[in-house]
């Protein structure tokens, strides 16, 4: 849907950006500022990333320190014994929720970025190979994709994590395994479309090697939909990570993660709303921001979408 566009138009945008790179960046920047939601998304993500990176400096308290005498303190109130200010309250173990949210941002963003960073290149490479080689390589890769899509992902992830054991590394691995298919499918479609394009035939005619055609001519032209996919992929990876952590199969305590915090809160829903509301808001704001940016990117990069 979002990924279909004509190779001709893509080739045009690529060559345009080569000749006038500076104005290109400026144009993107202006287009971003014109879209209020995308700007808001960017601002939220930048704030979160900065907070995540400088967590030890920003977080008011140690995210794992349990102040046993001050459990379930409401937001914006001070502890009775320690006089510590809890901006977002404390959790059932007396830990400061704001600090845990900030440290949790580290985990969520890091895992999101890492899993996309693994799955996108793998998927793109698979898609290039499948689209260009046809014959058996194509068949093998695409049937592999079919089989993988035959599972609800969460179930496959659960099964794998349960065997390998839950850890941050395994989580990234599992998320990456789940992610590659969509890139491969879209890139393959692009390559199939491009095979007969004149600029590819021209490249053949002047004697370009196959790998040159693949990586210098075709790859850049598949990038437009891939950039959009990466953005939405990041959003779904963050959601999946939080789901798995919520089920107890993701990030393991005591490392704070948003999904894990929600899992801890389940028995306290009726007593302390903030414990279950706040981590969810954090997840939703992050995913929403990424989606705002994704929508904007898709509209900007895909000429067909723009006409609508």
């Amino acid at each position: 849907m979002s990924a279909v566009s004509t190779p001709g138009a893509l080739a045009l945008t690529v060559s345009e950006s080569r000749t006038s790179r500076i104005t290109g960046w400026r144009r993107i920047w202006h287009s971003l500022l014109r879209n209020r939601l995308a700007t808001l998304g960017l601002v939220i993500l930048v704030v979160m990333s900065v907070a995540a990176i400088s967590a030890p400096l920003v977080a008011p308290y140690d995210p794992t320190w349990q102040e046993r005498s001050e459990r379930l303190v409401g937001p914006l109130s001070r502890g009775e014994n320690t006089d510590r200010l809890y901006v977002l309250g404390t959790d059932p173990l007396g830990r400061d929720i704001l600090s845990r949210i900030i440290y949790g941002a580290r985990i969520s963003l890091l895992i999101g970025f890492c899993s996309v960073a693994v799955s996108a290149p793998v998927g793109v490479l698979m898609g290039l190979l499948a689209g260009y080689s046809r014959r058996w390589i194509d068949d093998v890769i695409m049937r592999l994709a079919d089989v993988q899509l035959a599972f609800p992902f969460i179930l496959l992830a659960m099964a794998i994590v349960s065997v390998l054991g839950p850890s941050t590394r395994n989580l990234v691995l599992v998320l990456a395994i789940s992610g590659w298919v969509i890139y491969a499918r879209v890139v393959r479609g692009q390559v199939l479309r491009m095979r007969e394009a004149e600029f590819i035939q021209a490249a053949h005619t002047i004697g370009c090697t196959q790998s040159r055609i693949l990586f210098r001519h075709m790859l850049p032209n598949t990038m437009t939909p891939v950039i959009v996919l990466i953005t939405f992929g990041l959003a779904s990876m963050i959601l999946l990570e939080s789901s798995l952590s919520f089920l107890g199969l993701g990030v393991q305590p005591p490392t704070p993660s948003w999904g894990g915090m929600l899992n801890d809160s389940r028995d306290y829903i009726s007593k302390a709303w903030w414990v279950s509301v706040i981590p969810g808001v954090a997840i939703m704001l992050t995913v929403l921001s990424v989606n705002f940016l994704g929508d904007w990117l898709r509209d900007m990069l895909d000429p067909r979408e723009q006409q609508k």
């Binding site: 609800p152 969460i154 179930l155 659960m158 919520f246 829903i269 997840i283």
Partner: protein, 305 residues
Amino acid sequence: MVQFIIRRLFLSIFVILGVTIVVFAVVRLSGDPTGLMISPDASAEDVAALRHEMGFDRSIPLQFWDFAKGAVRGDFGDSLRYREPAFSLVTERLAATMKLTVAALTIAICVAIPAGVISAVKRNSIWDRLAMFFALFGQSMPVFWFGILLILIVSVQLQWLPSSGSNGPRSLILPAVTLGLYSTARITRLVRSEMIETISQDFVRTARAKGLRDRVVLYRHAFRNALIPVVTVIGIEAGGMLGGAVITETVFAWPGIGQLAVRAIFNRDYPLVQAIVFTIACIFVLINLLVDVLYAYLDPRVKLA
């Protein structure tokens, strides 16, 4: 048409074979599965006995052959925890999950299609903006958190509906709304964009030029054509809900296979895990097959591709 169905059927069988290999392989990812099934302080003889009993001391292709033979007949061995055939545990709970999924899908379709059509027809109106705003939220909200919020507001604060279990239709409402949220959002957005695209096409203009009334043009001409890709996505969503059910059932203590799956995984009950994953994958493949056939029926151009 027949040829198309046969070709798709072959593909489905191939995919199920692949699924069988994956389900078989997952448990062997860590090497020797006996280590996963027995307590760490078991004696070497016990381990060897279990290995022999489970057939793990034979060659991998032979083991796979036995596993595949069993899988076809629904025989995955006994659940390590419940000491019952794993497959019958799955079938017992399948109905609950189906009920939940069908309810969620019904909600999604009943909300999303009108919302999408209205958004497209009254583009940039306040309704359109509201619908798109909620759709974006729906797609960005973690399923389990939405469920928790519903429990917090509807069950704890207002005390309107029960927060867990499955006693009567009232207890179905919250889990179904939770599970349906993401699909509702996705289908709304899709219906809107498809409708906008069909409305701008030539045949719709022709229909208008013929002097047909707006309503006829909209529902007879535009809507029917916009529906084709929507059917595919509804199928994909139906399959996806089987995965979402795992989380929803956990939040609401709904006694379906999702909840069973989570327990089986925590108990390291591998025969049960295999039975669940295999069953869900088969249902999933079946839904996809149905959707493809339906798609080809709705849009005859597909068969030629």
